[in-house]
């Protein structure tokens, strides 16, 4: 689905919601929930925190959708709310305290090879689905993922947001600029600094 078609579909669903069709909001949530949760997870580094944060974001969207002026695309508006909410979470004392605790029972759920959480048959246990990769390969890949996420977590909030939006969400520099509310030069600078810092961090970890 092209971006233009996607934008038109979003506007139609929002219009339906504003005239009283509550199920249109559900469809909007289903369209964006994975993207929002993924972005939240990369920003916070904690799955449960990311899901809770995503819930809060959609509640905000539900409450303020009637103020949406269609000046930008819905996805940009939603990403802006997401980034700001995640930044607030990262600044909150509760989150910082929570991050000091070591979680032993939860492993982030990802598509492909690993499931965990309340939806899996055995919560807290790994369930290898893809049998093509050997356990050693899976383990190595997961270690690399964990290292990369740890390196992302170590970035400053503003740099982290720019990097995640660019390198994980794949947004353009212009979109990132409108989401973060800054100019193109600033976006370039932030992404460059974030990548440079991340590269040095990863070299140190390796």
């Amino acid at each position: 689905m092209s971006k233009q078609t996607e934008k038109g579909e979003d506007e139609r669903l929002i219009g339906d919601f504003l005239i009283g069709n509550k199920s249109s909001f559900d469809r909007l949530v289903l369209r964006y929930q994975n993207r929002v949760v993924n972005l939240c997870f990369r920003m916070t580094g904690d799955y449960e925190e990311a899901v809770d944060c995503a819930q809060e974001i959609f509640v905000k969207v539900f409450r303020s959708l009637d103020h949406f002026r269609f000046q930008s695309s819905f996805s940009t508006w939603l990403y802006r709310i997401t980034v700001n909410t995640c930044k607030n979470r990262l600044s909150s004392f509760k989150y910082r305290f929570h991050r000091k605790m070591i979680r032993l029972d939860e492993i982030p759920r990802t598509d492909g090879d690993c499931r965990t959480g309340r939806n899996s048959p055995n919560p807290g246990q790994r369930e290898i689905v893809n049998g093509s990769a050997s356990p050693a390969d899976v383990l190595e890949r997961r270690e690399n993922e964990a290292l990369l996420q740890k390196a992302i977590d170590s970035l400053p909030k503003t740099h982290k947001a720019a990097l995640v939006l660019r390198d994980i969400e794949g947004l353009s520099y212009e979109e990132i600029g409108s989401i973060l509310g800054c100019g193109l030069g600033t976006v370039k600078s932030r992404i460059a600094r974030a990548r440079d810092q991340l590269r040095h961090t990863l070299e140190g970890m390796m």
Binding site: D111, R141, E203
Partner: protein, 330 residues
Amino acid sequence: MKCKEAKKLLSQYTDGILDPVVMGELKSHLGSCESCSKALEALLEMRRRFDLLPEVNAPDDFLQRLHERLDREPVVKRIVKKLFFPLGRKIPLELAAAVSMALVVILLLQALPLSRFKLTLPEETSPMERLPEEVRQAELSEKPPENTAVAPLRAEHEQKIEKARVSEKPREEPEKIIGEPGMSEIVPQKAPAIPEPESLEEPGLKVPAEAPHTTDVRIFLRLVQAEQEEKPEATTMAKKSISEQDMEYGSAREIELILALVNRYSGSVVNGESQDSITFEIPMASYAQFLEDLGKYGQYRLETLTGRIESTAGIEGSTETITVSIELTK
């Protein structure tokens, strides 16, 4: 192109957004600079790692949990609105803090007894506090009050008492305290009656209403040899419970009887039990009855009377005492 400049452009180079001219210069620099080539390789390796990162999806019950949260949210929001937006506007934090401080101050002021601070004012308490100490010194030295430095102060105090008595409602008690008709009598010379606590009220001196319950009368009884007064003995002597003939003046027997009388009225001896004088305190409530009973032992003449308040009236926990020194001469 220098390495420093080239490394700044590597990020944009991997995104392919560099100007073609700048990109050409960078490419030529990368061909000749091993350090920048390694940096580019590391950056591309990192980008490949990002591409391998799996997408984290929302849980299956995400929408259901969201609906539950949306249903619960209005209640929470309503409570928050009531607490922080009571007038439909957000109350500034400074205003809330000021109101809280004012409430705390009011509560503290209500909890503290302010009457305590009133009575410690010097102009209110100093005249009345000086007198008791000096009169007590006079009593301890057993000198006649007239011959001490206390006399002017006592005279001043007596004037105050007299003024208070004039201002109060005239009492119905007779000037003479008489036990029974024809019996021995106690005739006060100057101020026979102990003023009621209310009559001692002066500006700056507050006596609580319950003062009579805790007020004592201190009596200085001097047993001195005096001439027997002529009086009809035929009837009075018969009615006395104790005969005057048995009561040798200043004898141990007389002192013993007087002390027993003091004890009966819950009094207490203050100053010695010498042969010629006793000082003791009697509760104010039973003072009149005490004098009446004392009259049964003999005829005493009240020579001097001084009254004072020696207490910090109004302060919680203290006992108010009105001490009156009476010198009686038989």
